[in-house]
């Protein structure tokens, strides 16, 4: 096998003069037809490397680049990004930006149109790839209306339709539930068998590790490990790339009234019942995992609890008081929530101001509590930094601190594990357990079943596709009708 990707002494930094090299004298070789997993903690240079491989760096993203890069016998710096289309396909991390056409068929056809293919060939290849990905029924729909998993498959189909011999995927499993992740694994396996060179950059290492030929670990911009996946397991655990969670607590049955009680909740979306007659209680000091595949209604249920989505039937009691129909602002003092994307909330120029904004609006600003929160969540050193300049893990911790700023009785976390590396997941699990020990009721909506198993005392399942094992499911399973 001949090498198709060769990097020798590659260094890159985004700002000339900065002392932080994202890639630092990196050497790497990928052979034709190889299936490689590239992993590493947040900020280790994985996505930067992906951008280097098709020339986005230096053509679109500026910085200082040193060393030699050869991809399919050509240096990406020497030719335009667009001219690299038939040599290397790059599936980017953000599906929303990647799907820029108004219909699925137009999205898939775009790359072939760029290559100047004839209309008959475009139609033929478009339908062939749609059949392969089982997305033929979606061809006339707008990408906006697709689920997260469908969007990811479409992004991949839109790149593969041009038949590039090398495909690089940046965090393809980030937003996928188990069903879609398994389907993507299958597609990648087929591609590998057909001789395509695959480089998968991924934080959810376990999802893809058993399938790959080789695992490369980046740390501080260098490859610190390159070897067989079977031998990598222990090293990945040691480097916290596969999270190792604390031992679960054994708790007695809850006593007293639940912090929040849901009775017979039914919610309809577009005339269809998303969930029906759902009842559960969230107790002080307990962690509940809200699980279910993408599209099962986890986020809608959270929105209903927060007063953002009206219910078709049922009632919600907060500390024994009916709160149906109350506005989110009225519930904010009692329910703290950290949404999936922390960037939705940041609007000040300093971490400390961001943290205080919500509790100040609620008239519950407590400087001593803010100080304690900052210290516990390792934000004290970052207090004067801009929230937008934080790493993904730091942003997640800040959004958790924002949710806790008004001292709520219930904490809701919507998909807290997305985009987090193993070390961040371990920290997050530790924090949630500590908060529950302090008497907070916690609800975690997640499609990461390992995380749910690690932290949850009980589960609320919106789908019976793959329930948690009985020993992990805890004392009570909610009723989903």
């Amino acid at each position: 096998m001949a090498p198709v990707i060769e990097l020798e002494g590659v260094s890159f930094r985004y700002r000339v003069g900065s002392d932080r090299w994202i890639l630092n004298r990196l050497g790497l070789t990928v052979m034709a037809g190889e299936y490689v997993l590239l992993c590493g903690a947040s900020g280790s240079g994985k996505s930067t490397l992906a951008c280097l491989l098709n020339g986005l760096i230096p053509h679109l993203i500026e910085g200082e680049l040193r060393g030699s890069i050869q991809v399919a016998g050509t240096s990406p710096s020497a030719c335009q990004v667009a001219d690299f289309l038939d040599r290397l396909g790059l599936v980017l991390q953000h599906a929303d930006a990647q799907l820029f056409n108004s219909r699925v068929d137009a999205e898939i056809a775009y790359g072939l149109e760029s290559l100047g293919r004839a209309p008959e060939e475009i139609d033929e290849r478009l339908h062939a790839i749609a059949r392969r990905f089982a997305i033929e029924h979606l061809l006339e729909r707008s990408p906006d209306t697709l689920s997260g998993g469908e969007k990811r498959l479409l992004a991949l189909a839109a790149v593969l339709v041009t038949g590039p011999p090398i495909v690089v995927l940046d965090e393809p499993f980030a937003h996928l539930d188990q069903v879609h992740a398994a389907r993507l694994c299958q597609v990648l396996q087929q591609l590998h068998l057909s001789g395509t060179t695959l480089v998968v950059i991924e934080q959810r290492v376990e999802a893809v590790l058993p399938d790959v030929d080789r695992c490369i670990v980046l740390e501080g911009g260098r490859a610190v490990y390159a070897g067989r996946p079977r031998e990598a397991g222990e090293m990945l655990l040691r480097r916290h790339l596969i999270p190792s969670y604390p031992v679960r607590r054994v708790l007695p049955a809850p006593a007293g009234e639940p912090v929040l009680e849901a009775r017979g909740l039914t919610c309809r979306l577009g005339g269809q019942a998303l969930f029906r007659d759902l009842s559960f209680g969230l107790d002080a000091g307990r962690i509940s995992a809200l699980v279910g595949p993408v599209g099962s209604g986890k986020t809608t249920l959270i929105r209903a609890l927060l007063g953002l989505t009206p219910l078709a039937a049922g009632e919600i009691l907060l500390a024994g008081r009916r709160v149906n129909g109350q506005a989110p602002e009225q519930l904010a003092a009692a329910i703290g929530v950290a949404f999936q994307d922390p960037n939705d909330q940041f609007f000040t120029s300093r971490v400390e101001d961001e943290l205080a904004a919500g509790s100040r609006a609620l008239g519950r600003l407590d400087p001593l509590w803010m100080e304690q929160l900052c210290r516990r969540l390792d934000l004290d050193r970052l207090a004067t930094q801009s929230p937008y300049r934080l790493s993904e893990g730091q942003k997640k911790r800040l959004s958790l601190a924002i949710a806790l700023a008004a001292r709520p009785r219930l904490l809701i976390l919507d998909e807290p594990t997305v985009g987090q590396d193993g070390r961040c997941l371990e920290q997050l699990a530790g924090l949630i357990l500590e908060l529950a020990d302090r008497g907070l009721a916690v609800l975690v909506a997640t499609h990461d079943r390992n995380f749910a198993r690690a932290v949850a005392d009980k589960t609320i399942s919106l789908d019976s596709v793959e329930p948690l094992p009985a020993e992990a499911a805890g004392s009570e399973a909610a009723v989903a009708g």
Binding site: L60, L112, S114, F347
Partner: protein, 223 residues
């Protein structure tokens, strides 16, 4: 029958040229009525198209300001013209997908980068408005009040700043995705081939003739 995008664009252009030129209420109202009926018949049970939904308050505002500044007749004329333009835009975008719109513009030999910018902007309007809604909900859940009160005026930064940052990030990611998929590559082809049928020429002639007739009626009042 699928109508060639060039025909649709020419009809749209004809409407945009005629609507501001009409100077009497009756022909303008008649044209608006025809457009409303056309839109209603194609969108039963789907509500108003978004350009119209967003523009209707503006029509009311134009009427109110013109009625105060000039007289009710001028106000009615100005607001009907604006309504007509919104209806024409609604009908145009209702009848063609952004890709078809782009194909039409490219067939008129407009440069591809310009066409792409126009159509991608159309595509991202709902996405950005969805993001704005998501940001507003996230901020409300931490207790920030956005109800229409004078004291809440300064809180608009809690909406605009995250939206601005996210829009810049989206633009950056979009540029990366476009280039990776061959945006600036030379020799681009089109998946759809278009050929104007004789019937479509007839249709275009009939619509432009009707618009000409409307202009004649406007200048030569019979009733």
């Amino acid at each position: 029958m699928s109508i060639d995008p060039r025909i649709k664009l020419l009809v749209g252009l004809g409407l945009v040229a005629v609507i501001p030129a009409l100077q009497r209420l009756l022909p303008l109202a008649a044209l608006n009525l025809i457009l409303v009926l056309g839109l209603w018949s194609s969108r039963r049970n789907r509500g108003l198209p978004s350009p119209l939904r967003l523009g209707l308050p503006m029509v009311g505002l134009v009427f109110a300001v013109s009625a105060v500044s000039f007289d009710p007749a001028t106000a009615a004329l100005a607001s009907l013209r604006l309504l007509g333009l919104l209806l024409a835009a609604g009908a145009l975008f209702q009848s063609m997908a952004p890709e078809q719109f782009a194909d039409g513009l490219r067939l008129f030999h407009l440069p591809y980068p310009l066409v792409f910018v126009v159509t991608t902007s159309l595509r991202y309007v709902p996405l950005i408005s969805g993001r704005l809604k998501r940001i507003m909900e996230a901020q409300r859940c931490r207790g920030i009040d956005f109800r229409l009160r004078l004291r809440n005026l300064t809180k608009v930064t809690a909406l605009l700043l995250p939206l601005l940052v996210q829009s810049f990030l989206l633009a950056e990611h979009l540029a990366m995705a476009m280039e990776s998929r061959g945006f600036s590559r030379k020799g681009r082809s089109r998946r759809r081939r278009y050929r104007i049928q004789p019937l479509e020429y007839l249709l275009l002639g009939a619509v432009l003739g009707a618009l000409g007739g409307l202009l004649w009626w406007d200048r030569n009042p019979l009733c």
